[in-house]
């Protein structure tokens, strides 16, 4: 998806028209498309590389993602077990436990690595859910106009003015305590911004003549939205996703910190909550508090850096290759 969208960054009519030509008119259309995609991916990467902050963010993300994926190998799969905890409760950092232990005697460094999994998963899935809802709402509202658009945009406005966190807390507290609840709570409360952005872009795209041409040639609603509008709003959506991820991770940490997460799952926000409940704040056990907080900040920052770089590479107005 990434590379393809990168290839269709701006509403350039010829390219789209080409892309929509029936296959039999071109020799080996698949090969052609793949060449085109490869080229645009390379172009994207060349462009991305010039944004130093984006590269730093990406490097940080790759590191953290590798650590999260390799958690069972890096720190052992029983690191989360309370019954087989290796240390004493609340030990200060030492050679054996570089970040000390929690109230059950578990190694905090290992928990931090395991926590990365949940924080990243929730952040990514929630962001995708949020952006998916936002995109569907935005495109349909931009396409259909009329009373449908009016109604749906008022709903969007309503969600927009609702404080996200309060709404998410309300949702998370009425549903079961689980990771999916958190994902859902974040997803369904943070989509309005995306919807607004996508709707604006949809309106811009739909006012172009080739859309009218497609319509005249018999393109239906579904065709226009899926084949013409969606590829053209995709760059925006992609950039928006990377930016939403960081706020989703922050929201996840907040909800977990407020005790709305699944208590049997280790996440960064959950670690902070555990630390607070164990009295680490007043006891001054900084090694329990600081690392998860810093980890959250670093990941959120990394995603923002990446998102910003991606956004400026794919910016539809400026075009990909100047």
């Amino acid at each position: 998806m990434t590379t393809e969208t990168a290839s269709v960054p701006a509403p350039q009519e010829p390219e789209n028209a080409e892309g929509n030509r029936p296959p039999q008119e071109v020799k080996s259309p698949r090969a052609l498309a793949w060449t085109r995609r490869r080229h645009s991916a390379a172009r994207f990467w060349r462009e991305y590389r010039t944004h130093r902050a984006g590269v730093v963010g990406l490097a940080a993300l790759v590191l953290i993602a590798l650590a999260a994926l390799g958690a069972p190998l890096l720190v052992g799969s029983d690191a989360q077990s309370v019954t087989e905890a290796p240390g004493e409760a609340m030990q200060a950092p030492s050679g054996e436990f570089p970040l000390g232990t929690d109230q059950f005697g578990r190694d905090l460094l290992a928990l931090l690595v395991w926590g990365a999994r949940i924080s990243l998963t929730v952040g990514l899935l929630a962001a995708f859910l949020s952006v998916a809802i936002g995109t569907v709402v935005g495109i349909t509202a931009g396409h259909y106009r009329g009373w449908y658009a009016t109604v749906i945009m008022r709903v969007t406005d309503w969600f927009l003015v609702m404080p996200t966190l309060v709404l998410a807390i309300a949702l998370a507290s009425v549903m079961d305590r689980s990771v999916w609840t958190i994902i859902l709570a974040i997803g369904v409360t943070t989509w309005p911004t995306t919807a607004r952005l996508v709707r604006a872009q949809t309106l811009a795209v739909e006012s172009r003549p080739y859309i009218e041409r497609a319509r005249a040639l018999g393109g239906g609603h579904g065709h226009i939205m899926a084949r013409h509008v969606l590829p053209n709003v995709m760059p925006l959506v992609l950039a928006q996703t990377t930016l939403v991820i960081s706020s989703a991770i922050l929201t996840e940490a907040t909800l977990a910190f407020l005790g709305l997460g699944d208590p049997t799952v280790v996440s960064w926000g959950g670690l902070l909550q555990d630390a607070r409940e164990a009295g680490a704040v007043s006891a001054g056990d900084w090694w329990y508090l600081a690392p998860p907080g810093i980890a959250i900040a670093v990941v959120a920052l990394a995603f923002t850096l990446c998102g910003r770089a991606v956004e400026s590479v794919l910016n539809p107005r400026l075009g990909v290759s100047r």
Partner: protein
């Protein structure tokens, strides 16, 4: 002890309708509180400090400030059920009897003498003549009779104390110093009627007692050692000393219960000297207690508690006339499964790891602190930690282990849910252990933590639950909540029952102990009931948590625990602690460096804020620069 209440499960006072109300403060508020407390305290200690000192010594008034976590549910003695509210009633009203702080036996309070008739059905109380209401009127037997009659009238006035009066036929006051209670059948709790006596001349003017919260006219007229002078919801309750109290005036001039929704914030306030006492409800965590032990002028009181912490299993919820409801797991109807679950719980590990020694390993239903009623299982009866025996029992019950999972005869894997209080860290911590122990046994467990467990609880929609009650010196109430009579009349209705237990043998024993006037014989009956409960596997007591609380020795010179040898200070069965507290000689805490924890908290907050600010700035810039 919001914890407790919303916990719900532990009230200190007998009452028919238990409220498992939600933790009133949203966690958000708590979090905000930590932040604000953390930020405000060290940055501008001066004003608060000054205020505290002013209150403490400048005008010569000695103030004792207690940090409590619980909210007041109501200040009306007819309605209030929470520990904080009932503790306040202990301080502001007299009860017929009080408990001796040494050994919990009944001692004179509003009544100086009490005597049953030969047929044990008529009790005569001699009311003291030297007790006055704070508005100057004399407190008499008429006030007591009016109070009991009002509760018996059941005009929404029996919320808190109906279990005492259900057995009453008639209450009269033939003279100002004589109160006569006639019973339908003998009742052994007559010397332990925990009912605050209210002034008739004030309360008979109230229009609708069932809705009156007693928080309109201050000071509130009372005759206890303290007089209630002010109250702000979730902020504070203020009391001043009653100089004319018959037992002698309290040494402190003012007593303030200040609400701290976050225990860590309360601990920080104690370190700063803003509060004199941090209530052990919820108990201080081991980390907090250890941190405070190193502080100068702070004493940590770690005494045996009056609560038990148990694992309740749903025996199949039903109404009084036998209609079943709820969705408790059918496997739990098998005693072998229930016992197997408990056999695989290592109580010692929980006491060592979760409570870190601040608890006693569980056995009988009543905590060992109440020695006459506490019971230990015999060697053959004991369900110790024995996973092998547990596995055997499960095999016998027809739950074979296939591929690491216990599978029932219907081919479905055995998966259970446990109801936990989201606001109680101990529930969550023990839940983690249970998940692993039972996982080894092949049983899946879902820890379902809720702010308000009362909805699924009353609806019987749970398999297991964390349960806990504070036990009174007289165990009648905590025993009564397992009788058939306590079951709800309609499905999903709130009722006095704790865990839907209904058993003929248990009920017979309950009736017998209630009618037994001989203490030793009654204790024997109570122990039989505990033995039955233990074997049933419905109420598995894991531990008796200690009361861990702390106070500043430079503000409080001495304070009585109950029992006096080793016990709790906050939440006693009586007013002994606050009445006996002696102020230290005017010195207040040294105004030194603020605590490291707070500084670190701020540093972390600053880092997070800075990070957030940077993010925001970046986003803003990107928006401004690039976005369409």
């Amino acid at each position: 002890m919001d914890r407790q209440d919303q916990h719900g499960r532990s009230r200190t006072r007998p009452a028919p309708a238990r409220s498992r109300l939600p933790f009133v403060a949203a966690a958000a508020a708590a979090a905000a509180f930590v932040l604000t407390a953390g930020l405000a305290t060290p940055l501008n200690p001066a004003p608060q400090k000054a205020a505290a000192e002013a209150a403490a010594e400048d005008d010569g008034k000695k103030t004792l400030t207690v940090a409590v976590a619980q909210s007041v549910d109501s200040l009306s003695p007819f309605i209030a059920q929470r520990l904080l509210s009932t503790s306040i009633h202990r301080l502001t009203y007299e009860y017929l009897t009080n408990y001796d702080p040494k050994d919990n036996h009944a001692v004179p309070a509003f009544a100086t003498k009490w005597q049953p008739s030969a047929d044990k059905l008529t009790w005569t109380y001699t009311i003291r003549s030297n007790s006055r209401w704070s508005d100057g009127k004399k407190a008499t037997a008429q006030d007591a009779a009016w109070t009991f009659n009002k509760i018996m009238s059941k005009e929404g006035t029996a919320t808190a104390n109906s279990n005492f009066v259900t057995n009453f036929r008639k209450v009269t006051a033939p003279s100002p110093t004589q109160l006569v209670i006639e019973l339908k059948k003998p009742q052994s709790t007559m010397a332990a009627l925990d009912v605050p006596i209210v002034p008739k001349h004030v309360w008979e003017k109230v229009d609708d007692i069932s809705k009156f919260n007693n928080d309109k006219d201050f000071p509130v007229v009372g005759n206890g050692p303290f007089v209630l002078t002010d109250f702000k919801v979730d902020q504070y309750v203020k009391l001043r000393a009653n100089k004319n109290f018959w037992r002698g005036a309290p040494k402190f001039d003012e007593l303030v219960f200040k609400t701290y929704k976050d225990q860590d914030a309360a601990v920080a306030a104690l370190k700063k000297g803003e509060v004199s006492f941090v209530a052990g409800q919820p108990a201080l965590t081991p980390a907090q207690a250890n941190g405070l032990k190193g502080e100068p002028d702070v004493k940590v009181n770690n005494g045996p508690g009056r609560r038990f912490f148990a694992l309740a299993t749903n025996p199949g919820a039903r109404t009084r006339d036998g209609k079943k409801f709820g969705d408790g797991h059918p496997a739990l109807l098998d005693k072998r499964v229930r016992q197997a679950l408990f056999l695989s719980v290592d109580r010692k590990a929980i006491v060592d790891k979760v409570f870190q020694g601040n608890a006693v390993e569980g056995a009988g239903y009543i905590p060992p602190r109440f020695s006459e009623y506490s019971w230990q299982p015999s060697a053959g009866q004991e369900l110790g930690y024995d996973p092998q025996r547990a596995a055997k029992l499960l095999d016998e019950a027809g739950y074979e282990k296939k591929g690491g999972k216990r599978v029932g005869k219907d081919g479905k894997p055995l998966n259970l849910r446990i109801l936990c209080h989201a606001t109680d860290p101990n529930d969550k911590a023990v839940g983690k252990y249970l998940k692993e122990w039972w996982g080894d046994l092949g049983i899946g467990l879902k820890v379902n933590c809720l702010d308000d467990v009362s909805v699924p609880w009353y609806a019987g929609e749970y398999d297991l639950a964390f349960d806990g009650w504070s036990v009174n010196p007289d165990p009648d109430f905590v025993l009564g909540i397992h009788t058939c009579a306590a079951l709800p009349e309609k499905a999903k209705e709130s009722a006095a029952t704790d865990n839907f237990i209904c058993d003929k043998k248990y009920d017979e024993l309950y009736e017998k102990q209630l009618a037994e006037y001989d203490p030793a014989k009654r204790a024997g009956l109570v122990k039989q009931m505990e033995s039955w409960l233990y074997d049933s596997g419905y109420m598995n007591v894991i531990a008796y948590p200690n009361a861990v609380e702390a106070y500043r020795t430079d503000q409080i010179k001495s304070i009585a625990t109950m029992p006096s040898a080793a016990g709790n200070i906050y939440g006693q069965d009586g007013y002994w602690s606050w009445w006996s507290a002696v102020p230290a000689s005017g010195k207040t805490s040294s105004d030194g460096g603020s605590s490291t924890g707070v500084i670190i908290g701020i540093a972390v907050a600053a880092v997070v804020l800075a990070g957030g600010g940077a993010l925001f700035a970046l986003r803003r810039r990107s928006t401004a620069d690039d976005r369409e």
